[in-house]
Subunit: 316 residues, 2 copies
């Protein structure tokens, strides 16, 4: 099913795939098309620990796929698998960018009028130092620039209030660092309701808060879809009249339509698809990887991070 | 405007009010009705610091109102003012319940089929120890019992995954404590999308995460209302046909309809209304205070917390 989504995307965009997993099944899906099939005996499951992924299943499809990127045989890897395992194997097999201890997960939230707000970290770093949050700001600006074509992206810092005295110590310290960073258009503190109003292009937070914001939004959107379905369900005439509008509405709420979170901070493109993605959703995630490559996301992140180090050395 | 909401509620429920603030204006609103008016020369603004509230404006309306509760001249206080100031003054003027250092803010999230899930803390305690989170679980169960009539409320702990190895250290430690607590129906970890699916009655988290979940939900709901408005806007016939359904839909999304967060952990009822509440919203917040009194919320919290201490002493 997911492989079909990848094949759909490859056909539309002229991308060459390396499909990693059950060789026989994948070869039959590929048929006469010219994609590579790489056999892997085992798969990492959602119940496997990071330890299983790193040491136990050394012949897993996930490890094989990332190894292709590490060896220069593929440009990007896309997986709908275990997020913790994908993070651990990516860190283990791919070089990290200077100054990054652990990649961050970034994804756009879609707000009014389709405005996108890239939020990071969405779950890889549960607690963060002020310096990490500052780096996320730099990396997020590169993402908004590469993926969204935004010039001088406005970067906000997630907090529980907008007054400068509010919030945890690390968040206040990060605000000071970011405000002093001339390479960053720092927009100050934002609250989670402002993720949707187009006020900023990037929002920085630790992975716990980011994950809560993402899941709460998905939950609220699912509830909205549910309410629309049950409340409008009985009125068939209305449904006919509204069919097109309701489809557009559902698309705006639907996480599948914007599937694909990028791991940033690695020398390589790694995209995590939602675990529950369908064929269309996975196609979207592979498309995300292609756009990250075409926009030279990693190059833009490297130069943004270099700016940060240069500036800091200059000040010290 | 807000006083009018309070007067509406008082009229419907036979409640006697003490309105605190500009005596002349309030007296003219009360007219011939038998409510008390308490003059206060100054008001705490949203820009005032906690220090201003505690030491600067000692004649503020907020302080006067809480003092009425402390003196036994009122049973509850409701304010749409500065949350930090309301928290600080409540702690300063009212006794705290045994074992509580700082109250938590609790409010129900409304999910599918109207299922309510009480979430705490929503912003008073930015980081929490395992012991605090455990106490929030006890207090949350009392709230679900008192406010929702739920028997043996199921209590979940907010995390970024449901596997027991996931999440920050304090959250994992809190899970161990809560699982071992025989007075609690602990349902394990929940993710923020599960706030809306009726799986649990109470969700416990630190105030930073809770505030992010609340604001993200409000933002997503506001976006849903906006999309409904703009997308359905042009179709007048459809709007006419759907008027009743859309009203119900809007109500389900509307934070005003469920306005009123209770501070728990105090010997007294303190309800915080949303700062942007209108007359209807404020009426709802005053109603929340009345329900908290009628259901003996504080008494239920005291006995739940006592159960916790007894059990712990018994084990040591």
């Amino acid at each position: 099913m997911l492989a079909l989504g990848a094949l759909d995307l490859a056909e539309a965009h002229g991308v060459e795939l390396a499909l990693v997993g059950d060789a026989e099944r994948l070869a039959s899906l590929v048929g006469t098309r010219s994609h590579r099939v790489v056999g892997a005996a085992r798969a990492i499951t959602h119940d496997d620990s990071v330890r299983d992924a790193l040491r136990g299943k050394i012949d897993s499809s996930m490890r094989r796929a990332i190894t292709l990127v590490a060896a220069g045989e593929a440009d990007a890897v896309v997986s709908a698998g275990n997020t913790g395992a994908l993070m651990a194997l990516s860190r283990h097999l791919l070089p990290m960018l200077p100054g990054i201890d652990r990649p961050a997960i970034v994804k756009p939230f879609v707000g009014r009028g389709g405005a996108r707000c890239w939020v990071l970290d969405l779950g890889a770093n549960l607690s963060c130092t002020a310096e990490q949050l500052h780096r996320f700001g730099r990396m997020g600006a590169a993402v908004a620039e590469a993926a969204g074509g935004v010039t001088a992206p406005r970067v906000g810092l997630l907090n529980v209030g907008v007054e400068h005295s509010k919030g945890p110590r690390e968040v206040r310290a990060a605000a000071e660092r970011m405000a002093a960073d001339e390479g960053l258009s720092f927009a100050g503190f934002v609250e989670a309701n402002e993720l949707f109003d187009g006020k900023v292009d990037v929002v920085v937070c630790d992975g716990f808060a980011g994950n809560v914001a993402l899941k709460a939004t998905e939950g609220a959107a699912a509830m909205a879809r549910h309410l629309l379905g049950t409340e409008l369900g009985g009125a068939r005439l209305v449904r006919l009249l509204l069919a097109g509008r309701l489809r557009r509405l559902a698309a705006a709420y639907n996480p599948q339509a914007y599937n694909g979170a990028t791991f940033v901070g690695l020398q390589g493109v790694v995209v995590k698809s939602h675990g529950g993605a369908d064929r269309v959703g996975f196609r979207e995630a592979v498309g995300q990887a292609v756009r990250d490559l075409e926009s030279d996301l990693v190059g833009k992140i490297v130069s943004r991070l270099a700016g940060q180090s240069t500036e800091r050395e200059g000040k010290e």
